[in-house]
């Protein structure tokens, strides 16, 4: 049984308009615009981008890192639903799996365009170099995407389309195929705890490795930071669960009222509040360790030069310290605030903080890079402006995310409780 799904409407005078078809149309326009850029970069190569030898990782890598962070709720709720077996989060857990899948597939998609040789994307799976963090990240993303697909398939197959469509009885082959798919999905669902453990391991491993990808590079000053892996894990959890909270309000409270209790949604907000506060605590200590209790000439000069061209330190103090403390406290008090508008507004901040962390991390070491001059080493200031092709491909993957999410929010049954067990 599908629960009643209410689509958001806008009132124009006396008419009330269902936004959904216009929204989908807009996203399809975005996809088309993105496909133009995608075609151009695949045809002409990376020289159509604003990347250079000085800044070889740009907008796409930032989108890639952020997309993976936005999937950070999947492994947390995999554990909550499949291992701790807390029933009231079951429907939210399904949404988390969807967000995880979307985040990781978006990241994989944008990486495909970012590679100099896109058709060799499979090389890391065949040519192993376990010493490389990027190899580990690639393998984890590939395996974790498989885990997420295994977790997502039973949820998608719950849709009545795959159970009661007249074609299933009219065409025998289709019917038996669906039966097999359902029994496969059932065994996948039974393997839930195993998948959750695998997902937790893979996800933790590579969220951390993404930070380590940067932090092992001794020659880049700001990047060479021992706490980067921990920060990446916690900021993915804080930003990912904040996104899960916002989408839960939308999918369950607005569109499927009654499927999930308000208190369960408040609990999601409180969880992200706790993690956000913990993350901010770690971030501020990390700042103190690198800038106050120790002195590194390169980090000092890099920070100084970055402050002259951009509000680099301000994005830390405001975006990653002050606002997250306020937002984290507000989210933590969700049960006494009981106002979804304010809570959603607060939940935007951990998401932005996670994106700012990754954006700053990627660009800090590249924009202000250290020279190899032996006598008077200094900081070289590089500049990078993304071209329209890069924005176009960025639009493509973001529209893909939004489109897939909108369709899932509209059509997927997120009802908790399974008929088949």
């Amino acid at each position: 049984m599908l629960p009643d799904i209410h689509c958001p409407t806008i009132k124009l005078g006396k008419r009330s308009i269902v936004v959904f078809p216009y929204w989908i149309g807009l996203l399809i326009l975005g996809l088309l615009f993105g496909l133009v850029g995608a075609f151009i970069v695949l045809r002409d190569g990376l020289h159509v981008t604003g990347l250079s030898n000085a800044i070889p990782w740009g907008l796409w890598i930032s989108i890639d890192l952020s997309a993976i962070a936005m999937g950070g709720s999947a492994f947390v709720f995999g554990v909550i639903v499949y291992i701790l077996r807390i029933k009231r989060f079951e429907a939210i857990g399904k949404l988390a799996v969807l967000l995880g899948f979307l985040g990781y597939s978006t990241a994989g998609m944008v990486l495909l365009f970012d590679l100099g040789r896109p058709l060799r994307f499979w090389h890391p799976v065949v040519y192993w170099q376990p010493h490389s963090l990027l190899w580990e990240v690639t393998m984890c993303v590939v395996l974790y995407l498989s885990v997420l697909m295994a977790e997502l398939l039973p949820i998608v197959l719950e849709h009545p389309l795959f159970k009661t469509h007249p074609w299933l009885t009219r065409y025998k082959a289709l019917g038996s195929l669906m039966e097999r798919a359902h029994s496969f999905a059932h065994s996948l669902h039974k393997a839930g705890p195993v998948l959750a453990v695998a997902g937790l391991t893979l996800s933790l491993l590579h969220q951390a490795s993404l930070g380590a990808t940067y932090s092992v590079l001794a020659g880049r000053g700001i990047w060479f930071n021992q706490s980067a892996p921990v920060q990446f894990v916690f900021s993915a959890m804080s930003g990912g669960i904040a996104l899960l909270f916002i989408t839960s309000v939308f999918v369950f409270r607005v569109m499927r009222p009654g499927t999930v209790s308000d208190s369960a949604i408040y609990d999601v907000a409180r969880l992200t509040g706790k993690i956000t506060l913990l993350l901010t605590y770690l971030r501020v200590w990390d700042w103190a360790v690198t800038n106050y209790y120790s002195f590194d000439r390169e980090v000092f000069l890099q920070t100084q030069i970055l402050d002259t061209i951009a509000p680099y330190s301000l994005t830390f103090w405001l975006g990653q310290a002050l606002l997250p403390v306020i937002a984290g406290s507000v989210l933590l008090a969700a049960k006494s605030i009981k106002n979804f508008r304010y809570l959603m507004l607060a939940a935007v901040i951990p998401i932005l903080a996670a994106i700012i962390t990754r954006w700053n991390y990627n660009f800090a070491g590249l924009i202000a890079s250290i020279s190899y001059d032996p006598f008077t080493p200094g900081i070289i200031l590089n500049s990078y402006t993304p071209t329209w092709v890069e924005f176009s491909v960025g639009t493509l993957v973001i529209c893909y995310w939004l489109l897939a999410f909108s369709l899932a929010a509209r059509y997927l049954p997120f009802s908790s409780g399974h008929d088949h067990h």
Binding site: H47, R117, P130, W135, T138, V216, G365, T376
Partner: protein, 264 residues
């Protein structure tokens, strides 16, 4: 009687359990051996060479006049487009403000960050120490480029899409003209001594600022030059990348960081 059989059963079970646990531990140990840290290390370490050769270069900054011939010769022999530079010559300053020219090929590090980070082993150590690239395996992720502490040490072909010397999109870099070394050795020549077997930038240098040869051979030109030099340095040594390119810093009486020493 019944008690004793029960005990036997218990004993058997416990023994079986013990065997099971043992087997599990053995299995787990076996698994860890598949991915042991040692095996990870081996890939990062150099493969020992039977011949024991380790190619290296020494650049005398005092002799360099900044003519850029090394860059052009490199572009000519390596079939590079105009805006692709394996070798870079820059004007730098000493602490006392004296200008000098710093020419920078790939450092051919013994602990090369680019080799450590490559996800597909496309960048690797040759037995003779040269850090070379497999252009057919490179996926163009540019992690090596980001990891290299010597700036533009490696350059993917941004801007030269029409010239497919190497597959478009891969990262490429200086390889000490390994093709010249290999072919020279086949003909019985000595790299560093015979022009045909020596990197093009060394051969072309009009002032003889660059010296090349086997670092493990005390008779090679590079070893002799290192012996004669008062002081040599390597770039960004604090990072422990162990480069095989050595520099003689500006030490002439008129210019350089030691100018004025011994006077007064």
């Amino acid at each position: 009687m019944a008690d004793s059989t029960n005990k036997d059963v218990e004993k058997n079970v416990s023994r079986r359990d013990l065997l099971k646990v043992g087997a599990a531990i053995l299995g787990a140990t076996g698994l860890t051996q598949l991915f042991s840290l040692n095996s990870l290390q081996v890939r990062g370490k150099e493969i020992p060479d039977e011949g024991g050769r380790k190619w290296g270069m020494l650049i005398d900054i005092n002799k360099c006049i900044g003519c850029n011939y090394c860059t052009y010769a490199c572009q000519a022999v390596n079939n590079l487009a105009d805006d692709m530079l394996y070798n870079v010559v820059t004007a730098e300053e000493t602490q006392s403000g004296e200008e000098y020219f710093l020419s920078r090929p790939c450092m051919q590090c013994a602990e090369a960050p680019c080799v450590h980070v490559c996800p597909v082993e496309a960048t690797y150590y040759r037995p003779d120490g040269i850090v070379e690239m497999n252009y057919d395996r490179c996926i163009g992720c540019r992690y090596c480029q980001v990891a290299c502490p010597y700036g533009a040490g490696k350059s993917p072909d941004f801007g030269v899409a029409e010239v497919e010397n190497r597959p478009r999109g891969v990262v490429e870099k200086c390889h000490f003209c390994s093709h010249r070394i290999d072919r020279g050795l086949e003909y019985g020549l000595t790299p560093g001594v015979d022009r045909e077997a020596t990197p093009a930038c060394v051969v072309v240098c009009p002032t003889g600022a660059r010296v090349f040869g086997d670092l493990n051979d005390v008779e090679s030109p590079v070893s002799k030059a290192r012996e004669e030099a008062i002081v040599t340095l390597r770039l960004r040594e604090e990072l422990s990348t162990e480069p095989r390119v050595y520099y003689i810093p500006p030490t002439t009486k008129k210019t350089g960081p030691f100018a004025g020493e011994g006077e007064s």
